[in-house]
């Protein structure tokens, strides 16, 4: 399966290599670099490349390329999914997945990679199991370790691997037992020029943070599970139970995890929380343009819209922007041609407006297409689909845990065509 892994930074340096079978020379990456040069955007590098003797499967995460080498037929998604899992694990361990942090924790990273694959086949990918074997670094422990010569490697044996709930580590103990759930929904939408919805759907995710002693068996039920159209579950969720009763029954992993993701059926009308009035014009003569954007509240269920931000990828010919914002501030990055208008909270009494002129390269023809607007927003304490958790029950343990549910609505891929 996976033969070797190379971590490559944005500028094309290989800063880590790991081989699970025999050693493959890093010159194999040259094929990749060749393609990478051609593709303007790192996102446009095809994830699967064929070289005379190997196949290169890569992902791009956090400005890093995770490039794996395989020699024989393997489902590409298998490798891609695994690489993302590796990146997730780094994120989980070190708080971020970047070149600096990986270089700082090179040995831990190497130990992790060693445990995650055996002969190229995934062995332990559950974060709970890994953490039992290799403790994540923290400042206190690293100080203690340097003083005492202690180690990151767990001295107990990873029994989690043996149990039939491999996602949960054994012997969990907390003084404060708590289980928090975040229901986060993202609105994916395409609005056309006139503001009508071309396409809108809601994608939700239930993130959990469970710190409970022992082996709790939890049941989470919703007031209106019918809303959910399609979902995927963490392996801990008992699927049959969901099928028959529409409740989530599970023995949770310890710590943070994604319990489920769901999709709200597109038959339901999706509430669009804001409306956008925009007018972007490029003039045929005079090499300049005008921009005027106003945002107002629409269907926000009486909650305030926060974290409002508009991002516009301007055409290449736009040199600079001279705008005034009634609220928030804007920046225009000359090199990437990205205009960002950070608005903040939406005040329904005084609608935020951004207007002004754009200056263009002299002599260049006017761009045919107006750039589309990407909108970011947040609404606290609201799941826009109306999904509500009705209760959380715990079986199997005697104590009473703290429970909590938070709702959040965000804009996902929310785009306004102009």
């Amino acid at each position: 399966m996976i033969h070797s892994l190379f971590l490559i930074n944005h500028s094309g340096d290989i800063f880590l290599e790991k081989h699970w079978k025999s050693v493959i020379s890093r010159s194999v990456c040259d094929y990749f670099f060749e393609v990478k040069e051609k593709a303007v955007d790192p996102e446009n590098v095809p994830p699967v490349l064929q070289t005379p003797h190997h196949y290169l499967i890569s992902i791009y995460r956090g400005k890093l390329f995770f490039l794996s080498v395989v020699q024989t037929e393997v489902p590409p998604l298998f490798v891609i999914e695994f690489l993302h899992r590796v990146a997730d694990t780094f994120q989980d361990y070190f708080g971020e997945c970047s070149e600096g942090v990986i270089k700082d924790n090179l040995v831990t990273v190497y130990e992790l990679l060693e445990e995650m694959l055996d002969n190229g086949f995934p062995l332990a990918t559950e974060s709970n199991v890994l953490k039992e074997m290799i403790r994540p670094p923290n400042i206190l422990r690293s100080v203690v370790n340097t003083l005492t010569g202690g180690s990151n490697v767990g001295d107990t044996l990873p029994t989690g691997q043996l149990s039939n709930v491999p996602w949960r580590r054994a012997g969990v103990k907390y003084t404060n037992n708590e289980a928090y759930f975040d229901v986060v929904e993202e609105i994916d939408a395409i609005l056309d020029k006139s503001g009508t919805t071309v396409f809108a759907e809601i994608q939700g995710v239930v993130e959990a943070c469970v710190r409970l002693t022992g082996m709790p068996d939890l049941t989470l039920s919703f007031m209106n599970p019918r809303l959910l159209d399609d979902m995927s579950f963490h392996p801990c969720v008992r699927f049959k139970r969901w099928e028959s009763e529409r409740v989530l029954s599970f023995i949770p992993p310890d710590g943070n995890f994604t319990l489920m993701t769901y999709h709200v059926s597109s038959q339901n009308l999706v509430a669009i929380p804001v409306y956008v009035k925009q007018n972007i014009n490029f003039f045929e003569t005079g090499s300049c343009g005008r921009l005027d954007i106003t945002i107002g509240p629409k269907q926000n269920m009486g909650k305030t819209v926060e974290g409002l931000m508009v991002t516009i990828h301007m055409p290449k010919v736009v040199l600079s922007a001279n705008l005034t914002a009634t609220q928030g501030n804007y920046t225009y990055d000359l090199t990437t041609k990205v205009l960002v208008w950070d608005i903040g909270k939406l005040n329904p009494q005084k609608l935020p407006n951004l207007r002004g002129s754009l200056s263009m390269q002299a002599g260049a023809p006017k761009p045919e297409e107006n750039p589309s607007l990407n909108i970011d927003l947040k609404i606290q304490q609201l799941a826009i689909s109306g999904l509500k958790v009705s209760r959380l029950d715990m079986y199997g343990e005697k104590y009473k845990p703290f429970k909590g549910v938070k709702y959040l609505t965000k804009a996902g891929k929310f785009q306004v065509r102009t």
Binding site: S27, E73, E81, E369
Partner: protein
């Protein structure tokens, strides 16, 4: 380490890139000198006896390895620490060892003994880790040691160690392929492993070592299907992919029939025409289908194992792991009936929310799927709409999908979308969009004009690339119907003044030349302009100018003769030899000279032949001959190690190869299916039976006398996904037996007899009963209807049961539904009882009965079809009924009151709810063969936790037995949540005695003393004997071994049916066919010693009867007589 030194390291690494081993690189000597120094202090640190120093050194060494730097010279110093106590040092040493062992083979051997010791460690994790490192050391000399270690670990107690053994197999194989045969043995052994931990890893090993040995899978197929959901994600992917291939070799194409039906239905092309062509081109397929139709005309019945696979993989569509979802999706795409493939669409669309790499792969696969099965993704059309922020490669793929999805109904929406895309700033994407519009226009005639107009409008676009791409596409479109569009051609002719992109110019010129007759005035003018600018044109344009000139010369030589000459002359001195050649060639061809050959006569025909319009095809067409989701599919080229997806077999291979002796988990659905499709062992002894079994295997049997079984089961396939196999299974066996009767009725004596009796019976019927229709041989309409009704009900029953069975823990709601169901059953039973007349003519008529049995098996709860039906417990029915017992979870489902004779599992209480503090346990003798040990009696236990808290670790302890008795404990039940019920099966060898087996039932908190005492009737298993055999055996068991008792039958028990039922309830015996209607005979063998047990009940006038039991074991005989007497007289 400082940044600069890191930089140096980097250099050191890359300079030695050319060599596989970085070893002795003189070029980097400068750097190495400092390295040597540093290595010296590393060596010192490693030699010290402080763990912290060792650790520090190892960390630095591993960091070097991670950067790709050479650290091989440290090998001796490092390998000394392999036995270090500090666990982190040890692990790092392992890392080092595995990396460099191949280069330093001799030194590596020093470490082997440490691992060999580790292999014997009492801790399973240490054993596993030792094996893991040992097998990772790529040193050929230790191959025998590895082999030994793997073999040993494969039979280790711990499943984790066995998993590690499975992982080690491909490692050893890649090191030494010679070991293949031995490794296959280990794989075979591990494939039989029942734990989920091992399953994924061993299938992985199987795929790497011996993917061609598909026969190894047979016996494990059902187990793998059932374990699948609990296997870890990565293992699931591998197993599903392997099973896809397996299924392709073992089952029949589920869609073959549908195409047949559709063909029969008037042959009109359905809307989703492309959906039908499964494997080959439409035509070929049709031919094949026709042949198939002629040859067979057999309705398709899905193999239950095929269904099992589909059903057990479906929940995995909800996996969070994209690879698992994709694996299931491809399985459904390749294996599922057309009507069911749709379920995967939603899950695949969900993956489009994932990382862009995932999107990329998924979209590629969706693109292939949409060509075959467009309808599936149509509802999700909008999910493929393109955002300006998508990477170009994703955009292009989405465009591909949208194009594939386009049809008459949605084309307007799609075109509107395309219009916005055309304005995009991403020019590659715009070009792709124009291509897509062109494809939509060629595929959908209705919008061709609209598209064309749209494209023509694009011709005035300011972006040259857009115009050029449009021109190329328009050219292709115009070729389809040129006569209509001379104005467009004119318009394009004007464009030659402005447009500069060579490809577009060439296209325009070609168009004008090709259709110069439609634009007779403009064409010469264009040529004139082109002639002027000839020298400045690109090569492809020049070639087209020559082309245009030649064509015009042929059609309109008057106006263009001179121009042509001029162009040809220019071309003659062109720098490009292609152009010079072309010019020379064309001059010879078109300009008639005295020397020119016969060809010039045909010049016009050659040049202005009618050219077929190009077909704009998706690049994803026919990609599905690669298994979807595979690397090969993505690259559209066979990758190394790719296993071809085989074509469906013409006829299904023998399905019985997958039969496994019924395992402990008798109550999983799997086993039910098994028992239903295959006749249990003890009935296989006669050749007749074998024949019968064969019939069952061939589900296509339909030419029997109007039996509606098979057709109907085909119906049920289509309208109900699950549950149908149990139904169809029994139907099949029913139809099998019946058809046999019609064909081979006169084969054996016995059957002849039966034939006569049937006739007799018929006559009687005619006399007695006015409406014996349900029974009549000819399948009247009514019967059909009835059967259908029954099968429906049956389906619903079995469905709910199966759900329950699959449940690891039964849920409250389900048990509720079960309750309600059993209520209904009770009602029905009452009904049945009411409808039964008090006395029935005791008619024995085996075949007839057989048929009735089969009908009854469809549905036991229907009112009795006719009072005359006296389903006697024949050998067949008995076996079927015993099988059906396996179907029932609780006895309420099949109860003695129903007509099915021996559907009687009496429940006994093992532990009362109150004494058990909320835990109650019931047991019954399931009368299933207990597969781990044939000498044991299977005891099925049902645990119900009615307490408020969970019960954990339910298991047996401290078994106290009489000498000679043995017990196979049930597997420990980890968790029994409050309010839930669980099943388990244990086996007890009672040594043919009725001594109780005592043991303790332990939970995590309590222990309960319990005992199981068997009724004597459960100590035997039914066997099949013919009448003659019976008589012969009986003759040898006379005297002491025979016990005779006279009795008066209970008033309710004076017909044959009732007798059979009561006897088979009391004892696990099977009916022996018998010529006389005054006698009922039964046969069985004791479980442990296999002594024969023969029972005869001879009825006389007015309820008097005589019971005879012949048995070697007199104690058993005596007790059995008592029990049967009690059963018959009460």
């Amino acid at each position: 380490m400082s940044a600069s030194s890191a930089f140096n390291d980097e250099k050191g690494g890359s300079s030695s890139v050319g060599e596989p081993e970085y070893g002795h690189d003189p070029a980097s000597g400068g750097i190495f000198s400092s390295d040597y120094k540093r290595h010296d202090d590393l060596k010192e640190m490693l030699d010290s006896n402080k763990d912290s120093l060792k650790l520090e050194a190892m960390k630095r060494i591993v960091a070097m390895i991670a950067r790709g730097k050479n650290a091989s010279d440290l090998f001796p110093a490092v390998v000394k620490n392999v036995a270090c106590k500090n666990i982190e040092v040890k692990k790092l040493v392992y890392v080092y060892l595995v990396r460099y062992a191949e280069e330093q083979q001799d030194l590596a051997l020093l470490s082997i003994s440490t691992f060999q010791r580790g292999l014997k460690d009492p801790n399973q994790l240490i054993r596993a880790s030792a094996l893991r490192v040992l097998s990772s050391i790529r040193v050929t000399i230790i191959v025998p040691i590895m082999m030994l270690a793997i073999k040993e670990a494969a039979s280790d107690m711990s499943p984790y160690v066995r998993k590690t053994a499975a992982h080690a197999i491909p490692k050893l194989y890649s090191l030494d392929p010679e070991q293949k045969d031995q490794l296959i043995e280990v794989i075979e052994k591990l494939l039989a492993d029942k734990t989920t931990l091992v399953a994924g890893s061993v299938v992985m090993a199987f795929e790497e070592v011996c993917p061609e040995r598909i026969d190894l899978i047979h016996k494990n197929y059902r187990k793998l299907c059932n374990l699948l959901i609990d296997v870890e994600e990565w293992g699931q992917v591998v197993i599903i992919n392997m099973l896809t291939r397996y299924a392709r070799t073992q089952f029949l194409n589920p869609n073959i029939n549908e195409s047949l039906l559709e063909e029969g239905g008037g042959g009109e092309k359905t809307f989703y025409g492309s959906d039908e062509d499964e494997d080959e081109d439409e035509e070929e397929k049709e031919k094949k289908a026709e042949v198939a139709a002629m040859a067979k005309r057999k309705p398709y019945v899905m193999d239950p194992d095929h269904r099992l696979l589909l059903r057990n993989t479906k929940p995995l569509l909800q996996s969070r792991n994209a690879a698992v979802v994709m694996a299931v999706a491809q399985l459904y795409f390749h294996l599922a009936p057309k009507a069911e493939v749709g379920v995967i669409a939603k899950a695949l669309v969900r993956l489009l929310r994932s990382h862009s790499e995932v999107q990329y792969v998924v979209l590629q696969n969706v693109a292939t799927m949409t060509i075959k099965r467009r309808g599936m993704f149509e509802p999700y059309l909008k999910s493929f709409y393109i955002r300006s922020t998508d990477p170009t490669q994703i955009k292009v793929l989405k465009l591909e999908v949208l194009t594939n999805l386009a049809n008459e109904t949605n084309i307007s929406t799609i075109l509107r979308e395309f219009q916005t895309y055309i304005k995009s700033m991403d020019k590659d994407f715009v070009a792709a969009t124009i291509q897509a519009i062109g494809r939509c226009a060629t595929n959908i005639g209705e919008v061709r004009d609209t598209c064309l107009n749209g494209l023509v409008q694009l011709l005035s676009n300011r972006d040259e690339l857009v115009v050029a791409e449009s021109v190329v596409v328009i050219k292709k479109l115009l070729q389809m119907q040129p006569e209509k569009h001379s104005d467009i051609i004119k318009h394009m002719a004007k464009l030659t003044d402005n447009i500069q992109v060579p490809m577009a110019r060439a296209s325009i010129l070609w168009l004008i030349g090709e259709y110069c007759e439609h634009v007779p005035k403009i064409a010469p003018d264009v040529l004139r302009k082109m002639a002027k600018s000839f020298t400045n044109e690109e090569d492809i344009v020049k070639l087209q100018i020559i082309n245009l000139a030649a064509k015009l010369y042929l059609t309109n030589s008057k106006q263009t003769k001179l121009l042509t000459q001029y162009v040809l002359n220019l071309a003659k001195y062109d720098q490009n030899y292609d152009i010079r050649d072309r010019a020379r060639f064309i001059r010879q061809l078109i300009v008639p000279t005295e020397k020119s050959g016969a060809l010039s006569k045909y010049a016009k025909k050659l040049f202005l032949a009618l050219k077929p319009a190009p077909v704009l095809e998706s690049p994803f067409k026919d990609r599905d001959h690669f298994q979807l989701g595979s690397l090969s599919h993505l690259l559209n080229a066979k990758a190394g190690g790719y296993q071809e997806l085989p074509d469906w077999p013409e006829a299904a291979p023998d399905p019985s190869v997958r039969n496994v002796e019924v395992k402990e988990s008798v109550f999983t659905l799997l086993e039910r299916v098994t028992t239903l499709t295959s006749v249990p062992e003890w009935t296989k002894c006669s050749s007749r039976e074998k024949r019968k079994e064969k019939k069952v295997e061939k589900p296509f049997y339909s030419d029997s006398e109007g039996e509606s079984g098979p057709t109907e089961s085909a119906d049920s396939e289509s309208d109900s996904a699950s549950g149908s196999e149990s139904g169809s299974g029994s139907e099949e066996s029913g139809s099998g037996s019946e058809s046999e009767e019609s064909e081979e009725g006169s084969e054996s004596e016995e059957e002849e007899e039966e034939e006569e009796e049937k006739d007799k019976k018929k006559k009687k019927k005619e006399l007695k009963k006015p409406v014996p229709e349900t029974e009549s041989e000819q399948s009247s309409e009514e019967e059909d209807r009835k059967i259908k009704r029954k099968s429906k009900q049956r389906k619903s029953d079995s469905e709910s049961e199966s759900d329950e069975d699959e449940e690891s823990e039964s849920e409250s709601s389900q048990s509720e539904s079960e309750d309600s169901e059993s209520e209904i059953e009770v009602k029905k039973k009452k009904k049945t009882a009411e409808m039964k007349p008090p006395s029935k003519p005791v008619k024995k008529e085996t075949k007839k009965e057989k048929k009735e049995m089969s009908l009854l098996d469809l549905d036991d709860f229907e009112p009795a079809p006719s009072p005359q039906v006296t389903p006697v417990n024949t050998f067949l029915s008995n076996s079927l009924v015993t099988d059906l017992e396996g179907l029932s979870l609780s006895d309420s489902v099949l109860s003695p009151a129903t007509i099915a004779p021996s559907s009687v599992l009496k429940n006994y209480e093992l532990l009362h709810r109150i004494t058990g503090e909320g835990l109650s346990v019931e047991y019954c003798f399931s009368r299933q063969p207990f597969s781990p040990d044939a000498n044991m009696v299977a005891v099925q236990m049902q645990f119900t936790n009615s307490a408020t808290s969970d019960t954990k670790n339910l298991h047996m302890e401290d078994v106290k037995l009489q000498s000679g008795m043995r017990v196979k404990e049930f597997p420990e039940i980890e968790l029994l949540s409050a309010g839930e019920t669980a099943m388990a099966v244990m086996g007890i060898d009672f040594c043919d005695s009725t001594q109780a087996a005592n043991f303790q039932l332990c939970t995590h908190t309590r222990k309960f003393f319990v005992s199981i005492q068997p009724p004597v009737g459960e100590l035997m298993r039914p066997i099949f004997l013919t009448e003659n055999e019976f008589k012969k055996e009986q003759g040898q068991l006379m005297g002491m071994n025979e016990i005779t008792e006279k009795l008066t039958l209970d008033a309710k028990c004076r017909n044959e049916h009732a007798i059979v039922q009561r006897v088979t309830t009391a004892a696990n015996l099977s009916r022996v066919p018998c010529g006389s209607d005054k006698e009922c005979r039964f046969a069985g063998r004791t479980v442990t010693s296999s002594s024969l047990v023969l029972v005869t009940v001879a009825t006389k006038e007015e309820g008097a009867a005589q019971l005879t039991v012949n048995c070697e074991k007199m104690v058993i005989g005596t007790m059995l007589v008592k029990d049967i007497l009690l059963a018959l007289t009460q």
